[in-house]
């Protein structure tokens, strides 16, 4: 435990001293703010009349998020897809930076057991992802309030927030293998490239009807909430996460 605490101090210090947490937090604001902007345009025809294509997109969005329940559903989907990319960036940085900065060799011949070092890294990556999720959810809620969406209720917001927490948990489990990808690729490129490929693959797999068994499609399907997912879907995500941690420790 002492080793883990010491490693946690190091990892937290590295993350907080870097500009990456701020950059990813600002980036994660982009989607909720962008959606709010489009909704604002759609609800103000005098502005949308001059905006052409943007106006068309905004009008489409109005049907998807015309009240609080629909808006929270949209925010959950943003979290499932946008969150995935930002969480991958966080974990890729936590692991890949040791290779990019050449500091990995300072971690290889030390008396601290390697799992302590890696678990501290996983912990910081998860914490960072949670913080980003909080930023996205709070920004989304704030935008909803500012837009004065109709149909809001406290029980509705609480239930949607709980659903979003489950999504965050599923997405975080799904990004854990990216620590291994960062280690295998000795930097950031491989995990970031694979993130794009996996999102495309997830869309394809969903179209083929097998999405509920593809770990990286499960959070999106859960966010859509159109059907109840089988227990195997959740297990596939959890096992993928555990396999990612184990493989990184063994690598």
């Amino acid at each position: 435990m002492n080793n883990f605490t010491a490693m946690l101090w190091i990892e937290l210090r590295k993350a907080t001293r870097s500009h990456m947490p701020l950059s990813t937090a600002l980036g994660s604001l982009f989607m909720p703010c962008g959606i709010a902007f489009l909704l604002f345009i759609a609800r103000n025809p005098e502005i949308s009349a001059n905006l052409g294509l943007v106006s068309a997109k905004a009008n489409l969005l109005t049907y998807a998020a015309m009240d609080w329940p629909a808006y929270l559903g949209l925010t959950a989907k943003i979290l499932a897809v946008g969150g995935f990319f930002f969480f991958v960036m966080a974990i890729s940085w936590v692991f890949g930076r040791e290779f990019a900065d050449g500091t990995v060799k300072d971690l290889l011949a030390v008396p601290v057991p390697r799992p302590s070092i890696l678990l501290a890294k996983f912990f910081v990556a998860a914490l960072w992802s949670l913080a980003l999720a909080a930023v996205m959810i709070l920004a989304g809620l704030l935008m909803g309030v500012l837009l004065r969406l109709p149909g809001g209720s406290l029980p509705g917001v609480v239930s949607s927030s709980l659903k979003m927490l489950v999504i965050v948990g599923l997405v975080i489990a799904g990004i854990l293998p990216f620590a291994l990808f960062a280690s295998l690729g000795r930097g950031y490129l491989l995990p970031l490239g694979l993130a794009i490929i996996l999102v495309m693959a997830a869309n394809l797999v969903v179209l083929l009807g097998w999405g509920e068994f593809f770990p990286w499609a499960v959070p999106m399907l859960y966010a859509q909430g159109e059907s109840v997912l089988p227990a195997l879907s959740y297990w596939s995500v959890i096992l993928t996460g555990l396999a990612g941690v184990l493989a990184t420790v063994l690598w």
């Binding site: 900065d101 011949a109 008396p111 601290v112 390697r114």
Partner: protein
């Protein structure tokens, strides 16, 4: 005998290339062992295998009596190291980098950070971000990380790289102090031969992955070629003479030496070069001979082969001329 480093037939292949070939080393406790070799000789690969960073293709290494295994936390509490260029977390300050290194070595007291900062003259840079350090100070920071937990064994890859002359002297003092006062052992690789010769008690020379020679510093002195350079009044006149006269005049001294059993080579500038042991060890005898032959020497000096040339001669690279001629006086 305590051997902080032992390797048995250590071998490492990278696809078709054998980077380290059956390397068997014994480093004794309390000594500074210089590991010499040109770029690509296998020095860094050896060090990475010693530190358990890469797995040997064959053979094994023991460090402080423990067989080195990838990912094992042993025996690293008593080992400090610096491999290749020193790297640090660029966004952390010098102090934070050292504090991180301290926490990676449980049991190292917090005061160790302040002490090592002072010892390596880094106190003034304590709050500077590592990204803003000069190469020399980054090297100091790397050494500080290696020394922070007072290790029994230091493994350093080119520790003098990037340091100014004052820095090199400081590091030399520091390493000598570590071995002399604390009984520590140092294994250092370098291509700066003079530096190794000054510091190391024993030297291993590696080339193309193979250990070519292992010798004490005193052996190194003995093995370096020496030669006697002689200039006579005739040689000096010869410099201003026509080629025909020149040859005739310089050859007079050469014949006198040859007649006495001292083969001498005549360089184009009129200098006579003697390489036989008797001449090199008894220049007074050569002097007497030349005076008797009417070609009194005006310049008589024993020159020792440069370390670099000795090294190049040993590894068979161009520049290491047989007989060891210093750069400025190379025979055509």
């Amino acid at each position: 005998m305590n051997l902080p480093i032992e390797t048995d037939n250590l071998t490492r292949d990278y696809r078709q290339v054998r980077a380290v070939d059956n390397l068997s080393l014994r480093v004794r406790e309390g000594e500074i062992y210089g590991f010499l070799g040109p770029n690509g000789a296998g020095k860094t690969t050896t060090i990475r295998m010693l530190l358990g960073m890469i797995r040997p293709t064959a053979g094994e290494a023991r460090v402080l009596g423990t067989r080195v295994r990838l990912g094992s936390p042993k025996p690293w509490s008593d080992v400090g190291y610096m491999v290749e260029d020193p790297h640090a977390y660029p966004e952390l300050t010098v102090w934070e980098n050292l504090e991180a290194a301290r926490r990676l070595h449980p049991g190292t007291p917090p005061r160790a950070v302040g002490e090592i900062l002072a010892r390596l003259n880094l106190t003034a840079y304590s709050n500077r971000r590592a990204a803003t350090l000069s190469h020399g100070n980054a090297q100091r920071l790397g050494l500080a990380k290696a020394l922070l937990h007072s290790p029994r064994l230091l493994i350093l890859d080119e520790p003098a790289n990037g340091l100014d002359p004052a820095g090199i002297v400081e590091i030399r003092q520091l390493l000598l102090e570590l071995t002399r006062d604390h009984g520590g052992t140092v294994f250092m690789s370098s291509h700066i031969l003079a530096e190794v010769a000054r510091l190391a008690g024993r030297i291993g020379i590696i080339h193309q992955g193979r250990l070519l020679q292992e010798l004490d510093a005193a052996d190194l002195e003995r093995n370096r070629s020496r030669r006697l350079l002689v200039r006579t009044r005739e040689s000096e006149l010869a410099e201003h003479a026509q080629p025909a006269q020149h040859a005739q005049q310089a050859q007079h001294a050469q014949h006198a030496l040859l007649a006495a059993g001292h083969p001498a080579e005549l360089l184009p500038d009129g200098t006579l070069v003697l390489k036989n042991t008797l001449a090199v060890e008894h220049p007074d005898e050569i002097n007497r001979l030349l005076v008797a032959a009417g070609a009194a020497p005006t310049h008589l000096v024993v020159e020792e082969e440069e370390l670099e040339q000795y090294f190049l001669r040993l590894v068979g690279l161009p520049g290491g001329l047989p007989g060891g001629l210093p750069g400025g006086l190379q025979d055509e």
